[in-house]
Amino acid sequence: MKANLMDYRNRARTGPLWSLITVVVLSATILACGDGFENGKPGLIRIGVLPDQSRQSLISEYSPLIRYLIETTSLDIELVIPDGYQQLLDDFHSGRLDMANFGGLTFTQAESRSGAEPLIMRDVDLRFTSCFITRSSSDRRSVSQFEGRDFAFGPRLSTSGHLMPRHFLTKAGIDPERFFSSVHYSAGHDETTFWVRDGRVALGVTNCVILGSLFAARQVTENDVRIVETTPAYPNYVWAVQESMRPSVKILLRDAFLALDARNPEHRSLLQHLGAGEYMPARRGDFEDVRIAAATQSSLEASDRK
């Protein structure tokens, strides 16, 4: 009993000392952390991709890239194909994936949920645009002249067909539901184009790349539809890594992408296979518009659900 009392007293006396030591160590840790640059070989790097095609075509699309990365970085890398968009986000969040190829919207979700860090993106990813189109016979020259007319977005969840066009319209002071007499959502970018061609809506917005391919396939002609305005460029796809990934590994992976050179024949086929001219370092700031658009969209959806 006496010994216990003594212990208690000693503890009470050293209390301030302990708290002092704790605080000093804590502050030292806070001040020192984040500057470490570790050496040594990292473990297996698992890379996930956006499952926007069939499993087989994804494997055939990305396998050459994985091979190239293994050769260049000497890291152990594995390709992971998730079952869906949500699976990709969940796997990245749980840490089962070290790196992933996200769409614009999915990246902002992964960023806010798991702190995903953008690493690298294709040159085309940096400059994605959406096109506002009308019938060629129309004499209106800007979106603002379509007040009180019928209008069509692409699919509700599409970045280029809905999310970004709505964002830029809002930014320009146009509230589609008030500005146009009616607002429709199509099932795809091609459908939007056909609606405009057939005169079902006066104005529509669509993915410029897909519009180009429709022109190329002669499914629509310059006599049918005409581009009224194009949205500012926004990023749409990005390779992102876990924020906690070792800086040395991040640099290795990024430099491997940056080293891809179209003048090198081997690289050229790989770049063409990936639909890229070249790769550029990605910045968080690139996604500001997508982030705002996604936040607006989710708050709109939330108010719709009410």
């Binding site: 009470a12 006396r13 301030p16 806070i30 040395s248 910045r283």
Partner: protein, 595 residues
């Protein structure tokens, strides 16, 4: 006492230790913040260089590349043979200048890189260097296509490099921002910690101090009440002793005075004898006055209320007061002429005035003025106001508020009982009067006593009764007294006046006498305190046997109060010892006449 001090000092030490620890932590954090500021400053500088410096260098690169392309596009330069064109490029001062400028920019970039030892640009920088070499080689060799191709490759590497720097700048900015935020929140936390520690320490110390003060006050109060009780017990014991002594003295004095008186009566014309006896009687009377004072101290006397003129009463005491206060104090007495009579016990009034005068004297050790005034006043009721004012040191409010408390005294231990003013208060209240004290330090004390006017005319005051003729008679008197000397004196004295005197030493023999002298006893004179049955009880029994007999009680002891009170209820007069024969004789005559 020591235990509490030890405990409190331990607690205080603990808090001071905590405070010291908090201060050290705060100092450490502030030093840490200073270094953080340095780190932040450096990161910010780096971010600026990445962002602005590398942007400028990339622009320079781009511009120089463009110049080379312009050079390649100049038709004249490539109009001739390949060799000529090559010569033109080689010999053109522009091409060499531009290439050397490019390599200068590259060197600057490499210096920038070396300065920060940042591994993330190494590969890109190497690529730029390699591609610049390819451009140089192609230009030097005059291979136009290869040069264009090499320049587009160089452009890509530069754009990548530039973007990479933007990313690095972003990161550095974010880092400085988060470090600044962290530093700020840390500083805020420390400020809150220090403030909270101060607050807690302050509150706890204050509470501890106030609780200690309360405890000390309680202990002081306890000590004071213990002290008071001690004084009270002392006084009680003293009162008991004095009362007992006074009682014995009174009995003796009654005998001395009585015998002296008797012998004075028998002395005839012998002047030498009567002179000596008169001296004995005077000395006895002085001794009697002394025992009265002793009794007054020991216990309050039964009220002997009379209707008096206060002015006359004060006139009687004036000499005594003057003697008591001494020559340094000038006494002024002013009494209104048409003063209303008041009802009071003159003896007690004397006590009141002497007490007040004594206090006044003590308040004026250097001398001063004492004014005693009386006046009528009409304030709701008609009353007489007695004012005793001195020019002494006065009292502060704390003393004033406790002035009437029994045993409260400002006089040194051993001087003054602290009973003076409380006795005064008791007496005045008993007389249905009011007392008020006005005083301020340095401006004297003013005591004002208000006594209700009496509708009855004032009695003549006779503090020293005039010598009376002893009145005699032939009736039968029964004296019951246990003191042999007094019994003998009364038998002799009353017998000398013509009475038939029967004596009894106690109640038992007194009752026997009553039975024997059936209906023949006219007056019973009886002592209150007797062994066995006391005087009052004896009288009750004796009156059954002798219902016609008048009765007188004699008392020499303060404790007779209760008995004498019940005697008052029985309408029996009380004679206080020591008395002189003629006092008793007159009372006996009065009683006989009444019956």
């Amino acid at each position: 006492m020591t235990g509490r001090e030890a405990k409190s000092s331990y607690v205080f030490r603990y808090f001071y230790l905590m405070m010291a620890a908090v201060m050290i932590v705060a100092a450490a954090v502030i030093v840490g913040l200073f270094f953080t500021r340095e780190v932040v400053r450096e990161a910010q500088e780096r971010a600026n260089l990445y962002n602005l410096g590398s942007a400028a260098l990339a622009t320079d690169f781009g511009r120089e590349n463009q110049s080379i392309l312009d050079l390649l596009d100049r038709p004249a330069a490539f109009s001739g043979t390949g060799t000529d064109a090559g010569d033109a490029i080689r010999s053109g001062p522009d091409a060499r200048g531009i290439l050397s400028m490019l390599s200068t920019i590259l060197t600057q970039l490499q210096e920038l890189q070396n300065r920060y030892q940042d591994p993330q640009f190494v590969a890109t920088l190497d690529r730029i260097a390699k591609r610049l070499e390819v451009v140089s080689a192609a230009v030097n060799e005059g291979r136009e296509e290869a040069a264009r191709d090499a320049i587009s490759g160089l452009d890509l590497a530069i754009r990548q490099f530039y973007r990479q720097h933007l990313v690095a700048a972003d990161e550095a900015y974010a880092k400085t921002e988060s470090a600044a935020t962290r530093a700020l929140s840390l500083l805020g936390a420390v400020v809150i910690l220090v403030a909270a520690a101060f607050l807690v320490t302050w509150t706890v110390t204050r509470r501890l101090r106030s609780s200690m003060a309360r405890q000390e006050a309680a202990e002081a109060a306890l000590a004071e009440s213990r002290d008071r009780m001690h004084r009270m017990q002392k006084l009680e014991a003293l009162g008991l002793l004095v009362g007992g002594v006074a009682h014995e003295f009174n009995n003796l004095l009654t005998a001395i005075l009585g015998q002296a008186e008797l012998m004075l009566g028998k002395s005839g014309g012998d002047e030498r004898l009567s002179g000596g006896l008169t001296e004995i009687r005077r000395a006895g009377q002085q001794a009697a006055a002394l025992t009265r004072q002793l009794l007054a101290f020991s216990r309050p006397q039964p009220l002997d209320t009379r209707v008096v003129d206060l002015g006359d009463l004060i006139g009687e005491f004036e000499g005594m007061v003057r003697t008591m206060i001494g020559e340094d104090i000038q006494l002024t007495v002013e009494c209104a002429d048409d003063l209303d009579p008041v009802e009071l016990d003159p003896g007690q009034m004397q006590q009141v005035i002497l007490n007040l005068a004594m206090n006044a004297r003590d308040a004026m050790p250097e001398g001063g003025q004492l004014r005693i005034t009386t006046a009528n006043r009409e304030s709701g009721r008609r009353c007489v106001v007695l004012t005793v004012a001195d020019s002494g040191v006065g009292m502060d409010e704390a003393t004033l508020s406790r002035a009437f408390e029994p045993f409260f005294t400002t006089k040194p231990m051993g001087r003054g009982t602290g009973l003076g003013l409380s006795t005064v208060h008791g007496i005045i209240t008993a007389a249905k009067g009011r007392i008020r004290i006005d005083s301020r330090p340095g401006s004297g004390t003013n005591v004002e006593i208000e006594l209700p006017s009496s509708p009855r005319p004032a009695d003549a005051i006779t503090l020293v009764p005039p010598p009376l003729e002893a009145v005699g008679g032939s009736e039968t008197v029964l004296v019951v007294e246990d003191e042999d000397q007094i019994r003998a004196f009364l038998k002799q004295g009353l017998g000398g006046l013509g009475y038939r005197v029967l004596t009894a030493a106690d109640a038992k023999s007194g009752l026997e006498q009553c039975r024997a002298e059936h209906l023949m006893i006219d007056v019973i004179v009886c002592d209150v305190v007797m062994p066995g049955v006391n005087g009052v009880e004896f009288l009750e029994q004796a009156r059954r046997l002798q219902p016609r007999a008048a009765a007188i009680l004699m008392s020499g002891y303060a404790d007779d109060v209760i008995q004498s009170n019940s005697a008052g209820e029985m309408d029996v007069p009380l004679v206080r010892k020591p008395f002189e024969l003629f006092t008793l004789a007159r009372l006996i005559r009065e009683r006989l006449e009444q019956s």
